[in-house]
Symmetry: C2
Subunit: 195 residues, 2 copies
């Protein structure tokens, strides 16, 4: 009855679990539910993940991997600071809008109870991302000779906030297309944080 999943079984488990967590709630979802959704035996599931906490942690961790791969690693290759920041805004918005990754990335911002050690690891990675954005903003401010009334820290929180909030309201069929959001958010932020 049970099937084996061959290609990237861990990824497939994380994705199915993330979907269940959003549909029926994290606490209401059992390891049994995850196994059943994938038509896996519990043995196979437990071979990959010991507990639901571990699955949640790896979902969040995978969301950070996605951000690092698709945003940080790409923009690092862009030489001019201002262009690097513009690219970061576009790519980060694209990650938030990506239908394929949405079930994974949404979990990053939900306030589920994770054991403190795992919670700290995720928070440390979120902080690293924030600092990357902050440093990039500082570089652009220096090059532009912007006044010090807006600090790179506050600007980074504002930028990451307005982008991450998109998942709360965005509808693919809505009036605001992805491109329109990128263009307008970039304009608001660049005029707002730099002179």
């Amino acid at each position: 009855m049970h099937r084996e999943i061959a290609i990237e079984p861990r990824q497939e488990i994380l994705r199915a679990a993330a979907r269940l967590f959003q549909q029926q709630g994290y606490d209401a979802t059992s390891m049994n539910d995850v196994a059943a959704a994938l038509k896996l035996s519990k043995g196979v599931l437990y071979h990959h993940f010991q507990s639901k906490d571990e699955i949640l942690y790896h979902i969040m961790s995978h969301a950070m991997d996605i951000t690092e791969e698709r945003v940080i690693n790409v923009v690092r290759r862009v030489e001019v600071a201002e262009e690097r920041l513009r690219r970061l805004i576009r790519l980060h918005i694209e990650v938030v809008l990506s239908e394929e990754d949405r079930e994974i990335t949404v979990m990053l911002h939900e306030n589920h109870p994770l054991p403190i050690g795992l919670r700290r690891k995720i928070n440390a990675r979120k902080k690293d991302y924030l600092h990357f954005v902050e440093n990039l903003i500082a570089d652009v401010q220096r090059q532009r000779g912007s006044p010090a009334t807006v600090t790179p820290r506050a600007a980074a929180f504002a930028l990451v906030g307005m982008i991450n909030w998109i998942y709360q309201w965005y509808k693919p069929a809505g009036m605001l297309t992805g491109d329109a959001i990128v263009r307008q958010y970039t304009e608001i932020f660049f005029r707002g944080a730099f002179v």
Copy 2:
């Protein structure tokens, strides 16, 4: 053994429930837990709320009441549009930072499974708030003769996003004080959305 709560019992129940939902998760919290936390009999609890869904709905609804009372109702009395928007930014940030209301207001943004009818009611109130902000931004843009490259809709989402995101990172003992956030967010947004 059981005590009766006399003053605003519903409010006290909502507050205690919100605290439990955040500490141990929504699904993991039972009506029994809520009654026990308040040293109430189940009879008294069920007299006020029929179910956990109903409690969650009223927590979210109360969060919208707080926003309407402390933000909308106050800024309506401010005559000049630009001053009205500045005041809205300050007051909305103060609601997010309010320690007293945090356990209530945080629940507004968590993705808990609420029956569709109740979910729609909350979403309608969120939309009303967004439209209020959007119209206010449109007024200021008209008065300033701002270019139409940034639409009031996108600007409203950006503003509400950067403010509501604060609860994800703000620490009362941190480097960024409430006043510093208000000042810098106002500056970023005003420069960003208007000319």
